[in-house]
């Protein structure tokens, strides 16, 4: 103690000794709070403020007028934006549903002890290790009506001419084309979370069920599903938030087309903010999306906590 005190310049040592525990805690926390305020809170407040103006970031000298709630009114009454919302909802619902079903099924299979288990796990998780831009590009080739493997596989099983349908170019198929690619890419992620859930179930619970002569079916519904449920719900939360802001994969695949069929809200928002430069309008749009995601996520997290408590 004596050696430490002598190594510290006396005025500093004196001032540090003078700080209370609470003050020292603030000194440590202050940089984080500062960064949080600078990077998250300040931009959020500024965005809210901009959302009531006609500000355009590319027109520096232009007079900025307060337009009240006009931006919000325009967005909420714009039928095109509601179509974007519908496209996003379709994408979210089907990707999550398919990823949960397939991911859980894969996890359940992988959880069984069999030869080559590790190799299969590695192969299955490969897609999620790729860049979304790369995935988008190569699926674009797979979907190509004249040379694409996807069309030939469908043709092989159904007998329809490969070039007779266009996954990325037809209004009825394009929304499914992006669902298929996202499912291919991110099902392994859901599988890994489910696998963690399955492996966290102690064997003795199944052993007790066996002693009680519970059938496999009964064990699945009364032990496996409830105990994996929190993990599954967590996977749904992650995928839901991720897919709500989906951009890169879909831009590479369809660019939002044909027409605006696959123009998800994030793509539309980017166009408004950084191509049309309607900063005020885009800020209002971003706030609406933020409130939507935040509201839905809050409700969901409450439900998740209830499931955990059971």
């Amino acid at each position: 103690m004596e050696r430490v005190a002598s190594a510290t310049p006396s005025p500093i040592a004196h001032s540090v000794r003078g700080l209370s525990d609470r003050a020292i805690a603030w000194v440590f926390v202050a940089p984080t709070i500062f960064l949080l305020l600078a990077i998250n809170i300040f931009p959020l407040i500024w965005t809210i403020q901009l959302s009531f103006t006609n500000y355009k970031a590319n027109r520096i000298g232009r007079e900025v007028k307060n337009v009240g709630l006009r931006n919000y009114e325009r967005i909420l009454t714009d039928t095109d934006i509601w179509l974007n919302m519908q496209a996003t909802a379709h994408f979210l619902f089907w990707t999550i549903a398919l990823q949960v079903l397939i991911g859980f099924a894969l996890a359940w299979l992988i959880n069984k002890k069999f030869k080559g288990n590790d190799l299969w796990t590695t192969i299955i998780v490969l897609p999620m290790m790729l860049s979304p831009a790369v995935v988008g590009n190569f699926w674009k080739f797979l979907y190509q009506p004249q040379i694409g493997l996807f069309n030939y596989i469908i043709s092989f099983f159904t007998g329809v001419e490969p070039s007779s349908f266009q996954m990325l170019g037809q209004v009825n198929l394009a929304p499914w084309s992006i669902v298929i690619v996202d499912t291919w890419m991110w099902t392994p992620f859901v599988m890994l979370i489910c696998l963690a859930g399955l492996r966290s179930i102690p064997d003795y619970i199944y052993e007790a069920a066996e002693i009680d002569r519970a059938s496999k079916w009964r064990q699945f519904w009364t032990i496996t599903v409830p105990m994996v449920m929190p993990f599954l719900m967590l996977a749904v939360l992650f995928r839901g938030i991720e897919n709500f802001k989906m951009f890169d994969l879909v831009v590479q695949l369809t660019g939002g087309g044909p027409g605006s069929t696959t123009e998800l809200t994030s793509i539309n928002l980017k166009r408004e903010a950084f191509e049309k430069w309607r900063t005020g309008y885009a800020s209002a749009y971003a706030i609406i999306l933020f409130v939507t995601v935040f509201g839905l996520a809050s409700i969901y997290v409450k439900a998740l906590n209830k499931v955990k408590e059971r």
Binding site: N54, A57, N58, R59, I60, G61, D80, Q144, P145, Q146, S163, S164, Q166, L168, G169, V171, V251, T254, G255, G256, G257, P258, G259, S260, T261, R271, F274, E275, K276, W277, R278
Partner: protein, 440 residues
């Protein structure tokens, strides 16, 4: 070596380098443009400027689909990346009004550069803002328009000519009207040539940047499309959605549906070139800028290819491409950048520019008696430039363009609504933009 000698040697070396440096300050200039064939020609051409001026030229070439996004962001953020920018014609309004480009009038006067030396259509489109006034923000750098090329070898084959005659009762040749062009494209659609299925034509359908608008306007202009009833009044009702415009848009959709390769839903310049070079299509639309490269192609160029100007319908009309070269106002090397423009404006440099594959807009090149025969597409280029029409060049051009991209793609590719409805909605979008701009 003693300490004294070392100091002497250092002083001597310093003196040598100081004496051998050029008298004027040599700068590193960066020129920004799109990444395409003419950009390579410009790199070659600029070597002469480097040797003459002592300045070093760097180039920032961005692929077309990202060019507008990348460069407009650069300008809007006051970036210093580009000293010189060969920006799209539609950017001139924003470049001038937002202070991104240096006004060149005083410089032109001082250096004796006259805009009368350049083709009037290019000066109007690439240099002036407000349109048609003698306020210059760029020097015409690269004349361009949307044109067509076709498989001359197929068009000359007796069996194909006979089949066309039997099918249509007409001779197969370069189309004289838009409707004839569609007829030819439909004739080739799905036809077997040398054991391979080929298709009619490659047209622009791209959704993300400007593709489908550039394609659709190539049909709209020959039908007599106008943006306003009275220039400068923004009175679009009856002009943008005129019966002629509706017919032209329906025509483009019919072209897309009946005469393009499968999966051709999001295609622009690159896809058009690929479709033609791979022998998939009989005809293709693209910018004249690509024609030198196409003619030089070992597989589909030379005797196998020929070119034609966008065919008229009710009138002649081609979609304008091309760009002017501007000095970016945020550059710290404006003097050197202006030096480049002065050098580039010289008739001898312009002649070399055309030789290398760039499209000069200088009258000394275009009016040269040998120009028309200098390349197989030179005459078509001159003809096209005589009837070009450009998109809005307003400061809010990006908003106007994206609205049109959406409305026409919705109609042509996604089968949404009718042509009239698409154009009506486009007027609504454009009206909203002009209201926001305080112009309506």
């Amino acid at each position: 070596m003693s300490k004294y000698k070392k100091v002497l040697a250092a002083l001597a070396m310093g003196g040598f380098f100081t004496a051998s440096a050029p008298a004027a300050q040599a700068d590193d200039l960066t020129l920004c443009w799109a990444a395409w064939d003419p950009a390579n020609a410009l790199v070659e051409l600029s070597k002469e400027f480097e040797s003459q001026s002592g300045h070093k030229m760097n180039f920032e070439f961005v692929p077309w689909p990202n060019f507008a996004d990348r460069m407009l962001n650069e300008l809007n953020s006051g970036g210093k990346l580009c000293d010189l920018l060969i920006g799209d014609s539609q950017w001139i309004g924003g470049g001038a009004e937002n202070g991104h480009y240096v006004k060149l009038n005083d410089f032109f006067d001082k250096e004796g550069i006259s805009m009368n030396d350049f083709a009037p259509a290019t000066v109007y489109a690439y240099s002036t803002w407000p349109k048609g006034t003698p306020n210059y923000y760029a020097l015409p750098a690269m004349g361009d328009a949307n044109g067509w090329f076709y498989r001359k070898d197929w068009f000359q084959r007796d069996d194909i000519k006979a089949a066309y005659k039997a099918a249509t009762g007409q001779e197969l040749g370069e189309p004289k009207t838009q409707k004839e062009m569609l007829q030819i494209a439909q004739f080739f659609q799905g036809r077997e040539i040398d054991g391979k299925t080929v298709y009619g034509a490659a047209i622009f359908t791209e959704r993300g940047s400007e593709g489908i608008t550039m394609g659709v306007t190539s049909a709209l202009y020959p039908w007599g499309f106008k943006y306003e009833n009275t220039p400068g009044k923004y009175d679009m009702q009856g002009a943008v959605n005129s019966p002629e415009a509706v017919e032209a848009l329906d025509f483009y959709k019919q072209f897309y549906k009946t005469a393009t390769p499968p999966g051709y839903t999001n295609s622009y310049m690159g896809e058009s070139l690929d479709a033609f070079k791979s022998g998939q299509v009989a005809m293709a639309m693209n910018w004249f800028a690509f024609f030198p490269g196409l003619y030089a192609d070992p597989n589909t160029g030379g005797d196998k290819i020929d070119f034609f100007v966008n065919p008229p319908q009710n009138q002649a009309g081609s979609t304008l491409g091309g760009q002017g070269i501007s000095v970016v106002s945020y550059s710290e090397k404006k003097d050197a950048a202006l030096e480049y423009i002065k050098w580039f404006s010289q008739p001898s440099v312009q002649a070399k520019w055309w030789e290398l594959g760039g499209y000069s807009a200088h009258n000394s090149v275009l009016n040269d008696p040998g120009f028309v025969k200098s390349q197989p597409f030179a005459g078509d280029f001159l003809e096209a430039m005589g009837a070009v029409q450009d998109f809005w060049q307003e400061p809010a051009y990006a908003e106007l363009l994206l609205a049109m991209q959406k409305r026409v793609h919705d109609f042509v590719v996604a089968d949404k609504g009718t042509a009239k409805e698409a154009l009506d909605l486009l007027i609504e979008d454009w009206t909203e933009v002009f209201e926001d701009e305080g112009k309506l």
